[in-house]
Symmetry: C2
Subunit: 479 residues, 2 copies
């Protein structure tokens, strides 16, 4: 073994042992030379070798970093869901609200949280943008913009669509107070009480609540954590059940993390067009991809104005600013009108602040950093799950977003697990939150977007042992 | 006549002739001495006399100002409405949206606007509060506050209730993105599709839109521009029709401006308690009273948690900040839960800004100034209406808020008038906007909260002549 091979091998072992974690910086060339008494050329060769093996990456002008890559993936991915597709009236139980309240506790380890660690947001830059925007804001804007909202922001959003190859009209954009009101208004625009709406199984609990509030029936369609909703099943449902709309997350679905491939999105849009069923596309995680290229939205394949694309800055930039929108296709006028008698509009100062932030540049480089960070975060959490969770656990490996979905060995009850973990100051999101029928009782969603630390690792160890504790001890696991 | 009586008489005539308008400052003592060659004592005596007559008022350390008091009130007040109380499904016509869009035009004279002139808001102070609040804001607030929203703001709101003698629990306050979402969520909490809801006739058009959106039937109850809804009629409706809720504006009703007397509010609350019907109380204008004492809310008489009191800072401080709330009595938990799946919450920065503004003091003195300004503004607009509108016109004289309601001589069509005025760059709010059945076709609402100027006066003259033009010329008016 040459000197550089030996150094590379040592580093590789150190990475495998977790001495260097994903996102960690390797010693600089100079440091390595000093530490090992070797030449810069030797260090370079060792680093090149590790880079070729995919273990580390070079960041221009800043050094070498450990890549996100679990060392041992002994657990399988979760199986696709198999919901009954009969429409169901939803009755959200108190439990969901109790759980939601507990997910936001700051103390403890918020692995059930819907948000990433707020320290990942550029809060100082945003504050500066807010101050600058307020200095420039015309007093009349508070009257003239109620609604439609801040025009500069609309233009910035249109520019971002254009960068993704989508040329939309300004009139198509309806600004809202985060993505949730956008989704809700889109739903109101296309479905009336008693109608059925197709959702994924499992699905984001807010979709369930929105359907309940509007007296709509849910048709749950099988969805897997790889490529999303089952188009075959969906086609059957469209044929037989004539739903008023579909509400889907095409990119990094919450809670599964699934990513619908481009071709599948194209087919989805064609299928819906054939049945003239509108799509409410919840795309709040689309910017948080791990690959080199942004995944397209289903909207980008739409030629009939049937897709209402809903997104926000809440997952990427500033949850508290409450700025979201929908590009609502042929329903934009209707959605804007519905907004008039509910929201009126979002807060003008925060809209103006985000417009200023986008104008001044820096959002894209923030996003690049954030994507890399979240990818590293995910790898290290997935790694820990593979290391600590008992045999028979299945875990998803999303290509973006910040959630992973765990299917626990069958006897384990996720809600019991939730309470047991809560008692130890750890939150998790139990599966039944994400189902109209309270299914997924042995599944949990974990947030991978909390800054990795000994405390987070300990929390994962604790959850894993709570899982093991719930499993029958005498007989071997059925998996 | 003494010297001071003669001077007072001259001033009184000048005020009657409109040379001094409500809110105008009279010459200082020194100026008056110089102008008339009289002694300070003479000027003082003249001013005391005018003050005793109620024509002017002294403002400590700043001089004497002309009081709001129309000189010639030749027009009568509008008659109470007489709606059919059969429930009606609402079908808001496109017209309402077209009209609403046009009301916000900055160019021209926005006498149809729902907002006061933005220069009346303390925008600089608010901006400073926003900057200060952002400097102090804990990054975690953007996670922890989603929902319930900014706690400091909740406490400030509770303090204001306490100042009005109402001790509410923090858990009763649900922060929303302006009052409109609060009203809408309260409606959702107590009424399901197909239910009937009592509203005033005429009523705020957003109530009509909200009812339509939720597939609710409207029961319109007679309301006059003096004391509000007809309790006798309401009692009949409660007896016979079992509505799911009442949605009323107890203080300075929009569009009538009526103020329900304290005793009537007490009776209203008792009547609703007897029938166990919840009240959604829209009280966004309550702070804009002209008298010496704030009118109480119906909520203040509620002992059963049946009143959901909705208010905001949009009419008094900052429409664009979108900060409102409801004190939702026994329905607070339900409303907070509904909020979770729609709004989540309002923007945290603007909530924190208003909390800071309130903490630092100055809101009450701003309100005192604003009340005085709006009272003066109203007097001068009412004055102009009395002067220029044709015989047979009736006009309300609200004790607060910033709208007046005009009943025009019968053949006049308010929607036609709206279009004719629009063509001249003047907006008005035509009566049919405020009715489920498109009634009040000969009524208009005028905004008195735009800075008085020659341009505004000209606009009123133009509307008056458009009205006269629509009236039959050959025969005398039937009124």
């Amino acid at each position: 073994m040459t000197l550089y091979e030996s150094y590379a091998s040592d580093l590789s072992e150190a990475i495998a042992a977790g001495l260097f974690r994903p996102g960690d910086r390797l010693p600089s060339i100079r440091e390595a030379c000093r530490q090992r008494g070797i030449s810069p050329a030797t260090v370079f060769k060792a680093y090149y070798l590790l880079e070729a093996e995919g273990l580390i990456r070079a960041a221009p002008r800043s050094g070498y970093y450990v890549n996100a890559r679990p060392t041992d993936r002994r657990l399988l991915e979760p199986k696709p869901s198999r919901p009954k597709t009969a429409g169901i009236s939803i009755d959200t139980r108190d439990l969901v609200y109790d759980i939601h309240a507990s997910l936001k506790q700051r103390s403890g380890v918020p692995l059930g949280s819907p948000f990433i660690d707020p320290t990942f947001f550029p809060l100082d830059r945003l504050r500066q943008s807010l101050v600058a925007a307020m200095r420039r804001l015309d007093p009349w804007s508070s009257v003239v913009d109620l609604p439609p909202g801040n025009r500069a922001l609309k233009r910035q959003i249109l520019k971002r669509y254009l960068a993704h190859g989508m040329k939309l009209a300004e009139s198509e954009i309806v600004l809202t107070n985060g993505a949730m009101p956008a989704l809700d208004l889109c739903l109101a625009a296309v479905a009336k009480p008693g109608d059925s709406v197709v959702i994924e199984s499992p699905t984001f609990y807010v979709a369930l609540q929105a359907l309940q509030r509007r007296s709509l029936k849910a048709i749950e369609v099988a969805t897997d954590c790889g490529e999303g909703i089952d188009l075959g099943r969906l086609a059957e449902v469209l044929e037989k059940r004539r739903p008023a709309a579909c509400w889907l997350m095409t990119n990094f679905q919450n809670p599964l993390g699934s990513l619908m491939p481009d071709q599948k999105k194209r087919e989805l849009v064609a299928l819906l067009a054939q049945h003239e069923v509108p799509l409410i596309e919840d795309d709040v995680y689309g910017e948080l991809y791990q690959g080199d290229v942004a995944p397209p939205s289903a909207k980008s394949f739409d030629r009939h104005g049937l897709v209402m694309h809903c997104a926000s800055f809440s997952k990427t930039l500033a949850p508290g600013y409450r700025v979201g929108w929908t590009a609502a296709g042929g329903f934009a006028t209707q959605v804007e009108r519905l907004k008039l008698s509910t929201l009126l509009t979002g807060a003008i100062p925060t809209q103006a602040a985000i417009a200023t932030y986008l104008q001044d540049g820096g959002y894209d480089s923030h996003l690049r950093r954030l994507r890399r960070t979240l990818a590293d975060q995910q790898a290290v959490v997935v790694d820990a799950v593979h290391r600590y969770f008992p045999e028979g656990t299945r875990v998803s490996l999303p290509q973006g977003g910040y959630f992973i979905w765990l299917e626990l060995p069958e006897p384990v009850d996720a809600v019991e697990l939730f309470w047991a973990a809560s008692a130890q100051g750890i939150s998790i999101a139990p599966g039944p939150m994400f189902s109209a029928r309270g299914e997924f009782s042995h599944c949990i969603r974990l947030n991978t977007g909390q800054v990795w630390s000994r405390k987070v690792e300990d929390a994962i160890v604790k959850i894993a042992s709570l899982v093991a504790w719930q499993m029958p001890r005498s007989s071997p696991s059925p998996h």
